[in-house]
């Protein structure tokens, strides 16, 4: 009896295993198959226009390549790529990437495909190329590049006779005036942690100049140096003054968008990826403009110092080594004027693409004047210290927190991860 049962059970589990084999995907033979993991669905949503144009256009133009485009959403893509990179299996040929340090860590581990030669002749902005380059090698393309700046509700400003501030002093006066009118001067979204960074990067730059961060990241200066602390204290002073409303920590980034869209907040310091929504009639009935962050008189930073990051980028993996040609064709099409012209809001890094809206034009104008571009800090720091930075900066939004102490603790962590500051 027992033997019978054993064999019965064994055959049951064998059956399960066999079904496993049978259900394995059967790939179409002949055509080159290119697997691409992206964020946006290629559907009819206006915000997904670029993904749609890219996928459909590429399929139409390249009938000999079978494109398998999988849309995973932001978090889905990050988690999936992370697991596949770490276990070195199941990788796609191309994945959407923000470049910078995270891509760099994959490149260091030998997971990516070096396309320096192949992509050299693609025309694009220098910042976008740098973002997809790590230690001198280019691994992908960045058709869209975002910069941080100030979204200003021009309608509100006009109605209350306010001028868009160009200096920090004017900025404070404008905030006071808005507050007096019962309008929240600044929207942020500090509950999600990362939105705090955009304005802080500029404040540090305005105090310490474009090299303040680069020096600290290169371990030539400390993260709790003068510029960092002063910037944090000024930022916190504004929080205490109520510039971010009465519940700065409870508001998520989405709440901040709604505040801007309904004219309940006057300004929003964030990335230019918001251009499409802030100029869309469906999303907002306000008139919103994009301006460079004000300068600090007597500070080292200039108006032409710009913080930026890859908005949409694609990088290729080692898996695709055998089909470099198809990969390069995809990258080139991603950078084509044809595909990029479909995008309704982002700043395109390809020359010859017309800005789709006034807001994008304003952002592109600010970007065009840039004399120095610093990559968004959390894209520029190693992964081990970038999310702790956002944790540390959330302290700014707490009126009772000691920001200098938070930065000192962060410096301790950086010392542990990246080594102490080198003596000259």
């Amino acid at each position: 009896m027992t033997r019978k049962r054993i064999s019965l059970l064994a055959s049951f589990f064998l059956l399960v295993a066999l079904t496993a084999g049978l259900l394995l995907p059967i790939s179409a033979a002949g055509k080159v198959k290119l697997t691409v993991w992206g964020i946006d669905l290629p559907d009819d949503d206006p915000a997904h226009a670029y993904a749609k144009a890219l996928v459909n256009g590429f399929k139409a133009k390249n009938p000999d390549i079978e494109l398998d485009y999988v849309a995973l959403g932001n978090d889905g893509l990050k988690d999936k790529v992370k697991v596949c990179m770490a276990s070195n299996s199941g990788l796609p040929d191309i994945f959407q990437s923000w470049g910078g340090s995270v891509m760099g860590s994959y490149a260091d581990a030998g997971r990516l495909l070096d396309l320096t030669k192949e992509l050299k002749d693609i025309k694009c902005s220098e910042a976008a190329r740098q973002a997809m380059t790590w230690k001198g090698k280019t691994y992908g393309v960045a058709p869209f590049f975002a910069i941080a700046g100030v979204f200003v509700n021009e309608g509100l400003f006009k109605a209350h006779g306010l001028k868009v501030p160009t200096t920090i002093d004017e900025f404070e006066k404008v905030c006071e005036a808005l507050k007096a009118k019962g309008i929240q001067p600044l929207a942020c979204g500090a509950k999600d942690k990362w939105p705090v960074l955009a304005m802080y990067m500029y404040l540090v730059d305005r105090f310490g100049g474009i090299n303040a961060f680069a020096d600290a990241a290169a371990r030539k200066a400390r993260f709790d140096g003068e510029a960092f602390v002063k910037a944090a204290q000024l930022y916190q002073k504004w929080v205490k003054a109520g510039y971010f409303g009465s519940k700065p920590l409870g508001e998520a980034y989405g709440d901040a968008q709604v505040l801007m869209a309904t004219g309940k907040a006057g300004m929003h310091v964030t990335g230019s990826w918001m251009c499409a929504q802030y100029s869309s009639k469906e999303f907002t009935d306000q008139t919103i403009g994009f301006y460079a962050f004000p300068v600090l008189p007597g500070g080292k930073g200039k108006e032409t110092d710009i913080m930026g990051m890859t908005d949409i980028g694609y990088a290729a993996t080692r898996v695709a080594a055998g089909k470099k040609d198809a990969v390069v064709r995809f990258m080139k099409y991603a950078m084509s004027v044809e595909a990029c012209s479909a995008e309704p809001g982002r700043i395109c890094s390809v020359p010859g693409v017309k800005a789709p809206s006034r807001l994008t034009e304003m952002a592109a104008g600010v970007f065009a004047k840039a004399k120095a571009v610093q990559f968004w800090w959390d894209q520029d720091l190693p992964a081990s210290v970038s999310s702790p930075l956002n944790d540390a900066l959330q302290n700014i939004m707490m009126p009772e927190a000691d920001v200098a102490k938070a930065l000192a603790q962060y410096e301790e962590l950086v010392t542990e991860m990246m080594g102490p500051v080198k003596k000259k």
């Binding site: 009819d44 959403g73 889905g76 697991v83 276990s87 998520a252």
Partner: protein, 291 residues
């Protein structure tokens, strides 16, 4: 068959003074609590019929106009029927692998307690102590090596491995609460170990089995994270993955549409539950009492 327990209970307790007032108060509390459970589920309906701007200005007011646009867009994009077969296969596979395995193991842990089974019990339970995020990377590497990643069986076998520890513990507690005499009587009648289990003990554990089938099914139906990691081929995408593909695109910037998609996503589970709960809650619980 004896009459239902509840009926008998009530006749006895009905004698007690103040029973009516007490019953009224308790019923009121229970209704209020049930409303608290339901109320949040109704919230999205306040604005799924609104445009983004209407939502931004007044999320909780009554909609001025019943716009179905959000639903139509979400429905078209989610393409809910696509992936339904995959979802069904995964759910059935997960139930078929998890429930018998857990029932058998739980029975041994409850009825054959000795040093050996105890050690095995803690070994099995150990699988439940490990957070999913922790074992994901080695697990993915391993399933890739044996060719199971990116397959539906790979997915439901892993769900099973995550489910068995929990459910064998639940089964253990159930089997322990069943009187041992029944098993003994069956043994004395000459039934073997297996017969005792299948003919006597397993039917008695129907409440646990019903709970396990329903919850494992719903659990694998709503699973997102494991499916995301282990399935890459779009032809194998489960319904939840398709929904997540859509949901992950939106946040507060398109809340009404997001809510519409969320409603579409949750609807099958809720329907399944509404259909299933009668069978689960009444059939099996009453059955247990009748004995």
């Amino acid at each position: 068959m004896v009459e239902t327990a509840a009926g008998r209970r009530n006749t006895y307790f009905a004698e007690i003074r103040h029973y009516k007032t007490q019953k009224f108060i308790i019923t009121t509390i229970l209704v209020l609590l049930a409303l608290a459970v339901i109320a949040p589920l109704v919230l999205p309906f306040c604005f799924v019929f609104k445009t983004q701007l209407e939502y931004a200005y007044d999320p909780w007011g009554l909609p001025k106009q019943l716009r179905l646009l959000n639903f139509r867009e979400a429905w078209a994009a989610v393409n809910i029927l696509h992936g339904l077969i995959n979802t069904f296969l995964v759910c059935l596979g997960a139930v078929a692998c998890t429930v018998p395995t857990a029932a058998m193991a739980g029975y041994i842990f409850a009825r054959y307690q000795n040093k050996f089974t105890e050690i095995v019990f803690y070994m099995i339970l150990a699988g439940w102590f490990v957070p999913v995020q922790m074992v994901l990377i080695p697990l993915y590497r391993f399933t890739s090596q044996i060719g199971l990643s990116n397959t539906l069986p790979g997915l439901f076998l892993i769900m099973c491995a995550f489910g068995v520890p929990f459910w064998s513990m639940i089964y253990r507690s159930f089997f322990r609460s069943l009187p041992g005499e029944l098993a003994e009587a069956a043994r004395i009648d000459g039934a073997g170990h297996a017969t005792t289990f299948f003919r006597v003990m397993l039917p008695l554990a129907n409440p646990a089995t019903a709970l396990a089938v329903l919850l494992v099914f719903i659990g694998s139906w709503s699973d997102y994270f494991l499916s995301l990691i282990f399935i890459s081929d779009q032809n194998l995408f489960t319904m939840q993955l398709r929904v997540a593909q859509f949901l992950n695109q939106y946040g507060v910037d398109r809340m009404p549409r997001y809510a519409a998609a969320a409603i579409i996503a949750a609807a099958p589970t809720v329907l399944l539950y509404i259909i299933g709960h009668r069978w689960i809650l009444q059939g099996t619980l009453a059955g247990a009492l009748k004995g």
